[in-house]
């Protein structure tokens, strides 16, 4: 029974950190994708004007 607490404590701690790291990487990937899309769109709009 006692080892159940040990198992739960370590499992939950790793779950907390992995879940947070995963949400961080998802947030960064989404923002980066939005930024790249916007840059590409601006590039397409700018190009004819520059010509």
């Amino acid at each position: 029974m006692v080892n159940t607490y040990l198992f739960l404590a370590y499992s939950l701690v790793w779950l907390i950190f992995v879940a947070y790291a995963w949400t961080l990487s998802r947030r960064q990937a989404r923002l980066r994708r939005e930024l790249d899309e916007l840059k590409a769109r601006v590039g397409r709009v700018d190009s004819p004007a520059k010509r």
Partner: protein, 227 residues
């Protein structure tokens, strides 16, 4: 000169350090005589608690710097330190009761240490909620910085609680009185684990600051397009 300690290197060092820490926790540190195996929760609980407290010190420093210099980078640092510190504080509040139940027979008690840790968790939430719900430019930064500075008082009380008052929580193993302390192998394990968690904290703060930087670039580009 390029920084050799890239995020990928930082992550690799953190993971290697965590593996060494786990090895020491389960295979190197001796079993405690009274509590047995469950005492091994101590290593992760202690490391997360120290990191959560240090995290609030970083929030305090970042907030002070932001208010003094209006430095965008200091604000990003305080915000990242708060968000990651909150995650560590959650880990403390999860591991604490899971250790308390077999050791004390209860999940929770409102003694000085546990209560001040709970208040620290609420302060982290207050800081993060201000960042989310205040949208006026500059206002969220200033008000959350004020919470970051005022809340530091609780971080000090939290650290000193087991020194100032008699509590259900054990007396300090660091800087405690005579009779406190640990077996040398337990000490070594505790410090290696603490180092690994501090390294993890540093990595996560760094990644959170990168997210803030990308968001700022995105907002600036949108503003340029709109102008």
């Amino acid at each position: 000169m390029r920084n050799a300690f890239t995020p990928a290197v930082h992550l690799a060092v953190t993971l290697a350090w965590l593996i060494v820490a786990l090895f020491m926790i389960f295979l190197y540190a001796p079993q405690e005589l009274t509590m047995g195996e469950v005492q091994r929760i101590f290593y992760v609980h202690f490391s997360c608690a120290i990191t959560a407290l240090l995290g609030y010190c970083f929030v305090f420093l970042g907030s002070m710097t932001y208010l003094a210099r209006r430095s965008r980078r200091a604000d990003d640092f305080a915000h990242a330190a708060a968000e990651v510190g909150f995650v560590f504080c959650c880990a403390v509040l999860v591991t604490g009761p899971l250790w308390a139940k077999p050791a004390w027979g209860i999940w929770w008690t409102w003694d000085a240490r546990l209560t001040s840790t709970f208040i620290l968790w609420l302060l982290y939430i207050a800081y993060l909620m201000l960042r989310v719900y205040l949208v006026n430019p500059g206002r969220a930064e200033v008000l959350s910085a004020v919470v970051g500075i005022i809340g530091f008082v609780d971080a000090v009380i939290d650290y000193m609680a087991i020194r100032w008052w008699r509590t259900q929580h054990p007396q300090p193993v660091i800087g405690g009185g005579s009779g406190s302390g640990l077996d040398p192998r337990m000490w070594q394990t505790a410090f290696v684990t603490l180092g690994a968690f501090l390294c993890l904290y540093g990595y996560l703060v760094r990644q959170r600051m990168a997210v803030a930087e990308t968001r700022r670039d995105l907002v600036a580009l949108r503003r340029d397009i709109a102008a």
